[in-house]
Symmetry: C3
Subunit: 348 residues, 3 copies
């Protein structure tokens, strides 16, 4: 489609654009690309930082730029059409959707699916080959269940939710609407509940259940356990990446993001808008306030107040963490000085 049409389809967010200045620069745009891989005729974007250097050399036919006149002039001078916006990445995300529709199978129930008669299946649902749905399950309208998914008894799944291949939803789990569960994830599985006794571990039955509120995503091969009693809950629109562990009885707020390989032990309470970097671990029963950010590999061993940014193991405020690490690298000189000092004292 022509650049003009992209502008029109992106609407208000694209109102500041090069067409307003140069009606003739209206290239045919055939697709979207990353700035360092863009070929002729593609639309790309620059958010800032080191990527701005690519404007000087990119083959892209059009760019989404930050609201920065220098960058815009640079693009213009290279005959690259552009749109300027305070949120280039967001607008680029919207532009992708002009060219790409994700694979979505046509509603149908594959004859090889094994569905208990005691279930309730909504309208326009897709149930792929070899899916197994057990008694008491309720599936909302327009749900997509990819092949080889297994759903244990008494699960409810809200409208428009997508379950990718080979994932497993355990008994009594409640999944909201508009959720996506990626391949291989296990939701509502038994919490790790063993009580030590003189003769070994006593298994505590996990009678609770797991709730994912609306708009939650859970990544590939992640696990969200259910607790012994009560519920594990993930708040609406929280996004969880691949290979993440959510322990039994965790209560997670809304709009959080957890990067890959994060691990939460049992009973962790997390507020809204919290962001945990890759491989962050959180100890048992810890409470984390709203909008906390933890950088990658942080080990959160105790409560974190709202709004704090933490790093390190055990976690400390990121500012202090960085200062301490600068000091840490000076240890050899500190040690040398201390040895001198000691020498002097022993000479006195």
């Amino acid at each position: 489609m022509q650049f003009q049409e992209i502008i029109t389809k992106l609407g208000k967010a694209a109102k500041n654009n090069s067409l307003n200045r140069d009606r003739n620069l209206n290239p045919e745009i055939t697709g979207v690309a990353a700035i360092d891989e863009a070929i002729s005729g593609t639309l790309s974007y620059v958010e800032g930082g080191k990527f701005t250097a690519h404007i000087a050399t990119t083959e892209a036919g059009a760019l989404i730029l930050p609201t920065n006149e220098t960058l815009q002039s640079q693009a213009t001078s290279r005959n690259i059409a552009w749109i300027a916006t305070p949120q280039p990445r967001l607008l680029f995300a919207k532009a992708i959707s002009l060219y790409y529709k994700p694979f979505k199978p046509t509603p149908a129930i594959h004859p090889s699916a094994v569905i208990d008669p005691n279930t309730r299946i909504g309208q326009d649902v897709y149930i792929g080959a070899n899916v197994v749905i057990q008694a008491g399950v309720i599936i909302g309208d327009r749900v997509t269940i990819h092949p080889n998914v297994v759903i244990y008894p008494d699960v409810t799944i809200g409208e428009d939710t997508i379950l990718h291949a080979n994932c497993t939803i355990h008994e009594r789990t409640q999944i909201g609407s508009g959720c996506t569960i990626h391949s291989g994830a296990a939701i509502g599985s038994e919490g790790f509940g063993f009580v030590p006794t003189a003769v070994g571990w006593y298994k505590m039955e996990q009678s609770g259940y797991t709730v994912l509120e609306d708009g939650v995503e859970v990544g590939c091969n992640s696990a969200v356990d259910r607790p012994a009693v009560g519920e594990t809950r993930i708040g609406s629109n929280t996004k969880i990446d691949n290979l993440v562990q959510i322990g039994h009885g965790c209560k997670i707020g809304r709009n959080c993001a957890m990067a890959s390989q994060v691990g939460l032990a049992g009973g962790v309470i997390i507020g809204n808008g919290v962001m945990l970097g890759g491989q962050v671990g959180v100890a048992n029963q810890v409470t984390i306030g709203d909008r906390v950010i933890a950088t990658g590999q942080t080990g959160i061993t105790g409560n974190v107040p709202a709004g704090e940014m933490v790093s390190g193991m055990p976690h400390i405020p990121t500012k202090i963490y960085r200062r301490l690490f600068v000091m840490y690298k000076k240890l050899p000189e500190i040690y040398q000085e201390y040895k001198k000092l000691q020498q002097k004292e022993s000479n006195q």
Copy 2:
């Protein structure tokens, strides 16, 4: 059921209880709950620590308490029935089982299961939809195999073992009786055996096999590899959480517990009663003695003697680890002092 009946069913462990003092306080108990979520008519428990504060406000109808007269009096004064025991969590685990029976499908073999004729299947076995069982497999009595499990050739599975959906058991694996393999776990898969050569990696075939002794649990999406030669072995009643990696040729003792995302490299030897916290890593060929405890995210890079508690990366005894961290946080003041010192010296 009435409190009286719970007491009776829990038997000797519940002999110290409020009914002995007040025959009239015999509430109807409708279920079990966590102390901070207990509603009217539920049974809950308090082990100690911060949770004791809930006794003053809980809606619970009955509590399992530690053998602590103050807490007991507090419960009595609020008209809450109670049982006192040195192990409240253990007794609560038993109480859960009075109210909750885990989902267990009725023995049957689903017609969609694909079972090689050259297999031996025990009595009262459940084999779910789309399960695939290959040649030479032996399945003990009362085994439960949930849907979409794949069993490679020559596997043996002991009595009463449960395989959850979508897990994969690789060739020659021996699983004992009373084991549970959770959804998506891969048992007996190929060890990561590649020998570096001038022209790249040479694949070492993994001719060994994996043994899980009786009562082992392996969590969702965990992986237990088999070795090039010999066996990987997990001792009886060892419990492994989700997303754990057990490398090829590891030998793990009895009654261990490994929290989520623990990773053992190849050839690790672990004694009995060892507890590894979440995200702990253990390097190649390391030996860990009986009853060792490693706190979360510890990186065990060398042997650990029996009975030790370790932390940090690389691991050191936890006591030293804690002291060093206190010192670490003082680095800025130490550094300041050292700079003053340097200044003075250069002035002399």
Copy 3:
């Protein structure tokens, strides 16, 4: 088979052996074993280090040894046949293959497999029970697809590649020839692309795809995501262990090895011959040069030049890391000295 025959089959690499000296020591070798588990009649190997001590006691009938005359004489004196080579582990790997052929099902398509008519399947392919192959998929000759694998649309899979049970290959993925994808892995799944907005996360559609070049292995339950635009690429003969996360848009070179539970965030660029230890994490957009080595649990937060060995979180050169840790353990004495100093000053 007799030792003589092993020598012959191993060819040139085995030319330095004890038969050249003692024609009579030609034992029957019934299998292969680790040196610390070798029983009578087995072939084992010693690479060096602590394992050489086993030569004095092993029951093995034959050994593969390093080119070390002392060890060879020791074996001879115990009547153990031997082969000497500069690469004992490599030769042992080859010896395993004399005794062990990995399980490989006979080419056939199981009637329960669900295969879209719009696919192209090569010669001598095995497609196991309950496999699902969707439209537009192209499968090369001699590919093995174990049971319960799901392949989304428009995937291509090269000759001789093996897909183990319960793994999932997502839309548009290109897998080369001679690759192995282990059980439960998810390849080409959606990258974790969410743009923060005032009203929550905006999902960036992941229109890109994932490429695995020839000879790549991906371990059990690992995940290799596809990007929003462009490709995620893993270079030829790179080996990836279990539970590894490869984020969207990563570009990984040839002949790398990544141990279990490594996590790469988005857009990471890695050269050739790089080795990442277990649980290593790499931050967004980082570039890692050729032949870099990172020890277990390293947190790579910025670019690493070619040839460097790094450790720690944040990563630093391993040599410095080790020296700093030695200093770190001296912190209590340094602190004591600093307190003394402070005391003195306040007394002046």
